[in-house]
Amino acid sequence: MAAPSFIVIGNAENRRVTLFQDALARQGLPPATVVPWRELLAEPSRLTDLPDTDALVRIDAAGESWAVEKALLKRGHAAATTLGCAVLPPERVEALEEDRGRIVCPRQAHLGFLDVLAQLEACFAARPRWRVLQQPRSIADLFDKRVTSRLYASRGIPVPEPLDGVTDVESLRARMREEDWREVFVKVSCGSSASCLGLFRSHRGREWLLTSIEQADTGWYNSLQVRRIVEPGRVEEVLGFLLREGSQVERAIPKARLGGDPFDCRVLMVAGEPAFIVVRQSTLPITNLHLGGKRGDLEALRAAVPPNEWEQAMESCRRVARLHDCLHVGIDLLFEEYFQGHRIVEANAFGDLLPNLSRDGLSVYEWEIREALSRYGAAPG
């Protein structure tokens, strides 16, 4: 029996898609049929025009495309008007010039994305022979850190304690005082890649906010340079924005160190098992690699973690993976200071862009392809 073919929903020009096609080619498989988000947003029938043959459907990120972002913003407008977040009407979205990295109404775009996911779900219902590698409903869950944090906690999986009852900056301060917490993360719950987040410290009347947001004259941007804002008015302004957009607020857990630097791990779960692990080491408490963090030494980490702590952390990752109907989930895992426990910080639906990693001679995408085929279809060759 021939292996089923792949359909990829993604941004055709993005390296996520080109690298996936490369991976198929290296496995001796035909290229995937690519359905670009841009076309899907303009023409919902773009997907249902495809025949109902045996196929594996991979959904990848919609980000890093201005045309797609604009379409999502337009689609999310109606829903956004009721939420109190920043809103831009469709005609003003249309008039916007591309400005790379600029933050434009993240909640509104997210609502547009949720709408498309619902549309996908309906499409898939009419295509019973397709095997969908990540269910749209699970992707929707993974794009809301408030949902995942509470879901995991309810199953006894350790997460950073969420701070409830925060509606604005004033209530944030009050709640921190009540809990006697000095530092919290404030993350727009639909953000990814450390966009729209801040580490807020408030203690002894002093405050600062460590953030990837850059406030420039022409607007606010996601910056590669993490900065610390200390000027009270600006702290207030940025925090206020994050909270109005709908944020997950949680205690900042002191991280374990490796070679003297704080670190956390990206654990890529594939088919329920930890398949790839990247150690993200940084001199800053925000460790994302594109923000200056570096890949740490996994062997050194394994040597530093007590064996039972490691096993428990991997078990938490497995339990998280089981809660999402997705072939792969990218989990952010931190070990607490001095390896006294671990926390699941978040999980990402599209957390598998990890170039230059290999295991048993397979890249991350090749590994996923193999697992997809062994789960749903014939093995290659």
């Binding site: 009347g205 002093r206 590669l224 200056g292 570096k294 039972n308 428990q312 426990g341």
Partner: protein
């Protein structure tokens, strides 16, 4: 267990009660005596609890006052100095092999027999290390509660710094294994060198393995002289394996060049078994380095003086596996160049070196010219040239000598001044190459990534 006391006239009585499931034990007598005790059992837990609560209400009515939650161990009074038990012979057994749990457990038994709470901490932590799942979280809670309860003995004069989260410690089988001291904000009243002195003299830190010092001074010069002195004057620390001076965040806590390491050599003299030494800051003085056990040396600076380069190139560290040197910008005191690090390139005195970082330099292109033929290169597994001034021309030289680098497991070119073509060239040099976050390329104004 709650303890109640009644003092009036000649009356001087206590009453304690412990509820456990469907029974409770009451204990009473004159204060200062053991008194007598009696256990009563009931048909159900609820019945036991009802009777238990009724008795407490009766005692309260009679004028008994709650004086504490009790416990088998000695109560700690506020601010009272508590001295623990110690046994030099059993400690010597731990010192011989601080990674071996058995010697701790023997000492723990002895301490428990003396009624010293450190004994119970050793036992609790030993149980924690073996526990999994729900048991592990219970064990962790017990350990934390025990430390909090006996903080006067376990932390002594360090309690405030610990409560303020400016001293963080790792407890390992009853003793502090790792410690980090740092001012956290501008309003901090912490005296870092004083706290360090107390720590190094404290019985709990007898087997300290790892020490990290962050911000010392938020207002003026963040200098490490007094830290070095505190270490030097505290005597030899044979257990200390890892030292990190300058664990601050820059550029926002301080600039790397506003923090002064100055002469750290007096501290190194009392740390004969150091395996990892990491230093961050300006004006580094290293003296004659003689660290026979050192595996890892990292110095991060915006400007490395020539004298420090000379210390590094003539150091005695025969077991060194990783050497990472940030040279910095001549605007911030960087001196020296390729010629001055020739002994490193020749692998002189570095038989076990596997990871070499020549980072944050303004002579990265010159390095690219000499690296392909460097004698040290064949033995290396990793080469780090990050934060420097590597241009596309330098990348071209490396690419033309690609065979010399093909054996490497990892190369790091992050934050250089490469353009797209240069990034492409270096990416092919070995299987794992990091080349992200390149900086603006301006030939006339090239500078290392970290200066001020």
């Amino acid at each position: 267990m709650p303890r109640y006391e009644f003092k009036e006239g000649s009356s001087n009585k206590f009453w304690e009660i412990t509820l456990e499931g469907d029974s409770f034990t009451a204990k009473w007598g004159r204060i200062g005596t053991e008194g007598q005790e009696k256990t009563q059992s009931f048909d159900s837990e609820e019945a036991a609890r009802k009777e238990y609560e009724k008795l407490i209400r009766e005692k309260e009515k009679k004028g008994y006052e709650l004086v504490g939650e009790g416990g088998d161990d000695d109560e700690e009074g506020g601010g009272k100095v508590v001295v623990g038990a110690s046994n030099p012979e059993l400690e010597a057994a731990i010192l011989k092999d601080p990674d071996n749990a058995d010697a701790y457990l023997v000492y723990g038994d002895w301490l428990q027999a003396q009624g010293d709470p450190r004994g119970e901490l050793i036992a609790l932590q030993n149980a924690q290390a073996k526990a999994t799942g729900a048991e592990a979280s219970t064990a962790k809670r017990q350990v934390n509660a025990h430390i909090k309860k006996h903080q006067a003995l376990l932390l002594g004069g360090l309690t405030k710094a610990w409560a303020d989260e400016e001293l963080s410690v790792e407890w390992h089988l009853g003793f502090i294994r790792e410690a980090r001291i740092a001012k956290k904000d501008y309003d901090s009243e912490l005296d870092v060198p004083e706290t360090l002195k107390k720590l190094l003299a404290h019985p709990s830190a007898r087997f300290l393995r790892s020490l990290t010092i962050g911000m010392v001074d938020m207002d003026g010069e963040n200098s490490y002289d007094d830290v070095t002195e505190a270490i030097a004057q505290s005597g030899e620390h044979p257990t200390l394996q890892s030292l990190f001076l300058g664990d601050f965040e820059y550029p926002d806590e301080t600039e790397i060049s506003w923090s002064y390491l100055n002469d750290v050599s007096p501290a190194l003299k009392v740390l004969p078994n150091l395996r990892s030494l990491r230093l961050r800051g300006a004006s580094a003085g290293l003296g004659n380095i003689d660290l026979p056990e050192l595996r890892e040396f990292i110095i991060e600076t915006g400007g490395l003086p020539l004298s420090a380069i000379k210390s590094i190139t003539s150091a005695k560290w025969p077991k060194l596996e990783k050497l990472e040197v940030w040279f910095g910008s001549d605007n911030y005191g960087a001196e020296g160049g390729v010629d001055d690090i020739q002994p490193i390139l020749d692998g002189k005195g570095l038989p076990g070196l596997k990871k070499l970082g020549l980072c944050n330099s303004e002579f990265t292109d010159a390095l690219a010219n000499v690296l392909p033929k460097a004698k040290i290169l064949p033995q290396l597994e990793q080469l780090d040239l990050s934060r420097g001034t590597l241009s596309d021309a330098g990348a071209k030289v490396l690419a033309e000598n690609a065979a010399a680098f093909a054996h490497l497991k990892h190369m790091d070119f992050r934050q250089n001044t490469l353009e797209k073509d240069g990034v492409k060239l270096v990416t092919k040099l070995c299987p794992s190459v990091a080349a992200g976050n390149q900086r603006e390329y301006e030939e006339e104004y090239r500078y290392s990534a970290v200066g001020e």
